[in-house]
Symmetry: C2
Subunit: 285 residues, 2 copies
């Protein structure tokens, strides 16, 4: 078992199994060929060809696209094509900060292979015996990754909320962290990946934040999504990532990024360059 | 002017202008078509086709490849094809830590578009009024980038020396930094790029280190390569990167990486995601 196994899981998909989902001239996602055929049922909304699925150009602005898509998604939900309706809208855009083309129910985003954004918090404590990381265990009743190890705080990035505001909200809900403490979190870049999962094609960019926590802070989950929190020595965290699949698949990337940024993994680590490269989408070369 | 201008400079090359340079089945670099034709003069060493330049498979190990290449490179030097002979060997390998296929005179590496490795040190001071970064000015008599702004310490990674050892050596030579201080530098990942320059195709991976320096430390150059050092507030560093070409082209990437990792640029920064993406080779999507 190696860090590279954890990374490989996050980059597993077959380009040939999808065709682009386009809005105007922008590829916003990828749909399976089967799902593309399914969308031919809605010819007023989608233009389906063998090579791509486009949105009808008559749907010329954010509101028109959002409303037309929503109507289709409600039909698909009723037909059982969308497994979990989240009642949360994601902006559809390739790069955070660009004006979104539309917003889409979160539960449908992987069906369209569209990019999702998220925030993650590495909550750490520095002690005389080294770095420690707060590790959560996801509730065993959660729909996705029940019982898996998780960050202190993480969450999807809905439309209409700033990234830091979202992080502060999640810190409150997931860890009972006061706003003043959460605001001290330091943004530190991102990780990205594309991989095929049960829910569809996940094309995610997660913005990472680090927060050094005082010794007396003890997280307390308020929304029932986390079963327990434990403060682990970093060596235990890294061993668990390397040797087990206990952490949620994408959390491995965020923690490896944290470890590389803080010199907790060094260039002497076997496959250091490959690990570093694996924390975002594969390069062209 | 924007950060993206600095990044674009580091990713400027035309794939069609090159053909692969192969050793066994591995693409180790890229050569211009004109240089490929030049290499047909050495049929015992190179197998040149319209699609690639390969090393003669009879050169079956590190020593044989190194010796045969060196003989060719000495001819090319005498013919004026290699502008600067550095008397320093680089390992030829795609990923640091893998066994190199051969070693090659540094001055020839860009001619073969082979990957070069390097180390860079962000030497910073945290004061009550914010983060400051030590900035060097390169000697006006340097061959490459004379007079440009630079890191506190940076250097190419020769064959046969560990990365941290190389950094410690460069810290001594370039900044007069004692070994005990240099050893506290924290590895923090890397940046990578491919771009066409006067010297050839630069395909570089730089390992980045951060070092928080005590207020009383003042760098002192010992090898004549740096004209002066100044401690700049981070805001001035970032403005200079954004609005001028004063920094050496690739130093911009390393400092932007430093700024992103420490939250000195935040997700609210325009084009944050694009800047973050630009700090390594472009992705497939």
């Amino acid at each position: 078992m190696s860090y590279l196994d954890r990374i490989a899981v996050c980059h597993r998909w077959d380009l040939d199994a999808y065709r682009p989902f386009m809005v105007e001239d922008t590829t916003l996602g990828r749909v399976t060929h089967a799902f593309a055929r399914r969308l031919t049922d809605y010819p007023k909304v989608f233009q389906v060809s063998d090579r791509a699925v486009g949105l009808n150009p008559d749907l010329a602005d954010f509101d028109a696209r959002t409303a037309a898509l929503r109507e289709v998604l409600l039909c698909l939900r009723d037909a059982g094509d969308i497994r979990r309706w989240r009642n949360e809208d994601y902006p559809l855009v390739r790069r955070w900060g660009d004006p979104p083309f539309l917003k889409m129910e979160r539960g449908a985003v992987p069906l369209f292979g569209a990019r999702g954004f998220g925030v993650n918090l590495n909550g750490y404590v520095r002690r005389t015996d080294g770095w420690h990381l707060w590790v959560g265990q996801r509730s065993k009743t959660k729909d996705t990754a029940p019982g898996k190890r998780d960050h202190l705080v993480g969450g999807g990035q809905p439309h209409g909320l700033g990234i830091l505001e979202n992080l502060i909200k999640e810190c409150e809900e997931e860890a009972g962290m006061p706003r003043e403490l959460a605001m001290r979190a330091v943004p530190a870049g991102a990780v990205s990946y594309i991989c095929a999962r049960d829910e569809g094609l996940r094309d995610d960019v997660f913005f990472n934040y680090d927060l050094e926590l005082p010794d007396e802070f003890v997280p307390r989950n308020t929304d029932g999504e986390v079963e327990s929190f434990e403060l682990w020595p970093m060596a235990r965290v890294l061993e668990t990532i390397r040797d087990t699949e206990d952490f949620k698949f994408n959390v491995n990337l965020v923690i490896l990024d944290f470890a590389i940024r803080h010199g907790l993994l060094t260039p002497d680590e076997p496959h250091y360059q490959e690990i570093w490269e694996g924390l975002r989408l594969p390069s062209v070369l």
